[in-house]
């Protein structure tokens, strides 16, 4: 056991850094610094994706034959870390990280040829139609119904928490095709165009006053059966394939470390009666407590990577990193508003819009703090709530 970094990994990291240095435009950098959500402003995120795609680096996790890079697990991790360190805007995940992998695993050759290149180059902007008003944590209870009619399905129902549906060209959706038997067994995975007659979109304003989410309504929407991925009533398997594709899940520690460093710098600027806050033992104690948790998570994530590299399946451990990563992110955003005090209460969302020329009121570093704190409350709700994730650990790992 050791932590030495092989020379070729160092060289790879240098290569990535040089590329980022040369190819990030000022607009993309600016947007990256102002991100207060896992979803970056669309225009800048897509511009960044285009640059990465031109280099062949838009989807390193995909198999090489479909446009991936063929990198090792470690190289992919280095790449992800460097993107986070350079504060690039996160790429919009619905195509690259959700729909793409499902098509790679379960799509027909025709579907792969049609959709994968357009996911990579950004021509198709995808949204995910999973959750419904009555089906959140209990996703398998979803009711949006697709009835067979000739060569088509006719869809009726509604989807909610559909991120960026108002920008999307395409949706991948889970719909019910059979009302009998186990709920998981009557679900079908469908691809559809967002401009079809009968689809209407209602944007939802969030706590941070940003419209990320939407509700989508289907009123007799006709979709050809050839848009189905996998077999009819077998959509649950297609959706679950995603979990095995990106085993180990997202890495949180690199981003958390970037945030912590920023908070440390903020604390140096805040004056207490005894000097800077960064020297105040109470603040130091709080900061150190989060720092220790992040260090532990960093190594938990490295253990998972190491298992993956040697071909082992980390299984339900991705539930653990989802819980730790999201809750530590929430803790970090909380630490930041607590470091800033009343300055964090100044509300100027217009200053977060890329390209705005609004003068900032108060310290510039405080602008993202409250919106990020509020937005990050969603992290423990989406992608399988943290209650659901704890349930998975209890059942699958502990055998309870």
């Amino acid at each position: 056991m050791d932590l030495r970094v092989p020379e070729q990994e160092k060289a790879f990291r240098e290569e990535v850094r040089t590329f980022l240095e040369e190819s990030l435009t000022p607009e993309i950098r600016e947007a990256g610094k102002m991100v207060t959500s896992v979803f970056a402003p669309v225009k800048e995120a897509m511009a960044w994706q285009k640059i990465l795609n031109d280099k062949g680096w838009a989807a390193p996790h995909w198999p090489k034959e479909h446009g991936g890079t063929g990198w090792s697990v470690t190289q992919r991790a280095i790449f992800a870390e460097e993107l986070v360190r350079a504060e690039t805007p996160p790429l919009v995940p619905m195509g690259l990280h959700m729909c793409g992998p499902c098509l790679i695993g379960c799509g027909t050759e025709e579907q792969q040829k049609e959709y994968l290149p357009k996911i990579l180059n950004g021509e198709h902007f995808w949204c995910q139609g999973y959750s419904e008003p009555g089906s959140g944590s209990d996703l398998a209870s979803l009711k949006t119904f697709a009835e067979k009619d000739g060569d088509d399905y006719i869809i009726n129902g509604t989807k909610i928490w559909t991120t960026y549906a108002h920008y999307a060209k395409k949706m991948f959706a889970l719909v019910r095709t059979n009302k009998d038997g186990k709920p998981q067994q009557g679900i079908t995975f469908l691809l559809l165009d967002m401009d079809l007659p009968g689809i209407s979109i209602e944007p939802i304003v969030g706590l941070d006053e940003v419209t990320e989410q939407c509700q989508v309504f289907f009123d007799n929407v006709r979709v050809p059966q050839s848009n189905r991925v996998g077999a009819e009533n077998d959509g649950w398997t297609v959706a679950k394939y995603l979990l095995t594709f990106e085993r180990g899940g997202q890495e949180y520690a690199p981003g958390l470390n970037v945030q912590l460093e920023k908070i440390r710098l903020m604390a140096e600027k805040q004056q207490t009666v005894h000097g800077p806050m960064s020297k105040d033992p109470v603040w130091q104690h709080k900061f150190a407590s989060v720092e220790a948790d992040v260090l532990a998570l960093e190594f938990t994530e490295m253990r998972i990577k190491s298992a993956l590299s040697s071909g082992k399946d980390p299984g339900a451990l991705s539930s653990m990193t989802k819980i730790l990563g999201t809750e530590l992110l929430q803790k970090v955003t909380e630490l930041r508003i607590e470091t800033l005090g009343a300055q964090a209460a100044i509300w100027q969302p217009q200053a977060l819009v890329p390209g705005n020329e609004q003068p900032v009121i108060g310290p510039e570093y405080a602008v993202t703090a409250m919106p990020h704190y509020l937005n990050s409350r969603a992290c423990s709700i989406y992608g399988g709530s943290n209650e659901v994730q704890r349930g998975i650990i209890a059942k699958a790992v502990l055998g309870l």
Partner: protein, 374 residues
């Protein structure tokens, strides 16, 4: 010992309850996506109902009541998230005017009681953790006058205010309790430049810059360099008022969450039937009750002049920050996606609590004040 409301206090509570019932709705809050002018109509109603007169002495036309009545009133208003700048103008502003000269009082109180005067306490500064003695903004003594230079930050009601109560350092260094002075400054005086901004809770504040603003001796509140005690006593009342209002908000968050958990079904059951959530809602309830207890303790100790009154108020503000965080976060989590929207009550109350924790020192600051006051 008697924890019952008097008849008079009960009437005040009842009238506030009715007001909230008739005037509160989330829709109003959702409109607050931009800087709003003062809601004159609501403020006029406050004046008519006699609420602006609560803490003023009868000889000034007030009702001669105090922090207990303010607590009763604001707890009720807090349940409706009423946005009127009552704390800035009546509790803090009015509190300072009680320490003002007769001339200052004659000039301001009658108009305040009629609803025609807005006040704001300009105390916070950028990149300075708030405590009164940490004030750095300079007031330079020139003969009988003082010249103010510097910036005050996050001044609640700062843009609506006609008069500002400005805390400045006229001697000594940040950290010294000596050397602080208070001034009543016309908000439109030459050299006062205000940049209004919204606050996260949909209210408004302002950054206020002072450039060579000359203030005459007659505008001072209290003695030169000796304003700490006045500022501290008024601040304690302000902290209690904020805490009372937010205790009302905690009640709504808990009730809404419990109700939601009874109607929202997943896996074939109302989610409130899951023990994992029941325990967390029980903890929310406990945190709320502890907050109510500290609110009563701090308010009664302050009114009766107990030695440990200040300590109790600091404990209250710390508890408010911590309970607000816990109850607010759990309320969102248990509401799921709906809790993240602008549509329900939940988000608006959470944002109010998040703003209030940061104002006039957050939980960490007040825990430290408890340690120092022991």
């Amino acid at each position: 010992m008697n924890f019952q409301l008097s008849e008079e206090q009960q009437m005040l509570a009842d009238s506030a309850k009715r007001f909230v019932r008739d005037n509160h709705d989330v829709e109003k809050h959702r409109q607050n996506k931009k800087l709003m002018p003062l809601d004159e109509a609501t403020w006029g109603q406050f004046a008519e109902l006699g609420w602006l007169a609560v803490p003023f002495a009868e000889e000034h036309g007030g009702l001669g009541m105090g922090p207990l009545e303010t607590m009763v009133l604001l707890q009720e208003l807090g349940e409706g998230l009423i946005m009127a700048p009552y704390i800035a103008t009546v509790v803090l502003g009015g509190g300072f005017l009680r320490h003002g000269s007769e001339a200052q009082q004659a000039e301001t109180i009658p108009s305040l009681l009629e609803g025609g005067l807005q006040l704001a306490f300009a105390a916070e500064e950028y990149e300075r953790v708030f405590t009164l003695e940490n004030t750095a903004m300079k007031g330079e003594v020139q003969g009988g006058d003082v010249v103010l230079n510097g910036t005050k930050a996050c001044v609640l009601n700062g843009d609506h205010a006609d008069q500002l109560i400005v805390l400045a350092r006229t001697a000594g260094q940040p950290g010294d309790k000596d050397g602080l002075s208070l001034f009543l400054v016309d908000a439109n005086a030459e050299g006062v430049e205000r940049t209004p901004h919204r606050t996260v809770d949909g209210r408004q504040g302002a950054e206020i810059r002072f450039s060579n603003v000359k203030v005459a001796e007659a505008a001072r509140i209290g003695e030169l360099n000796q304003a700490y005690d006045i500022a501290k006593s008024v601040l304690l009342e302000g902290l209690l008022a904020l805490s009372a209002e937010c205790t009302g908000s905690l009640t709504v968050l808990l009730n809404d969450t419990v109700e939601y958990s009874k109607t929202r079904k997943q896996f074939g059951l109302p989610i409130g039937k899951f023990q994992a959530l029941q325990f967390r809602m029980a903890d929310m309830f406990i945190a709320m009750e502890q907050t109510k207890s500290l609110l009563m303790a701090a308010t009664m100790k302050l009114v009766e002049g107990h030695d440990d009154a200040a300590k109790a108020v600091h404990a209250m503000k710390a508890q408010l920050g911590r309970a607000g965080r816990k109850i607010g976060q759990e309320a969102i989590q248990i509401h799921g996606g709906m809790g993240m929207t602008d549509e329900l009550n939940v988000g608006h109350f959470v944002k109010r609590l998040s703003a209030v924790d940061g104002v006039f020192g957050n939980a960490d600051v007040h825990l430290m004040e408890i340690a120092r006051s022991a």
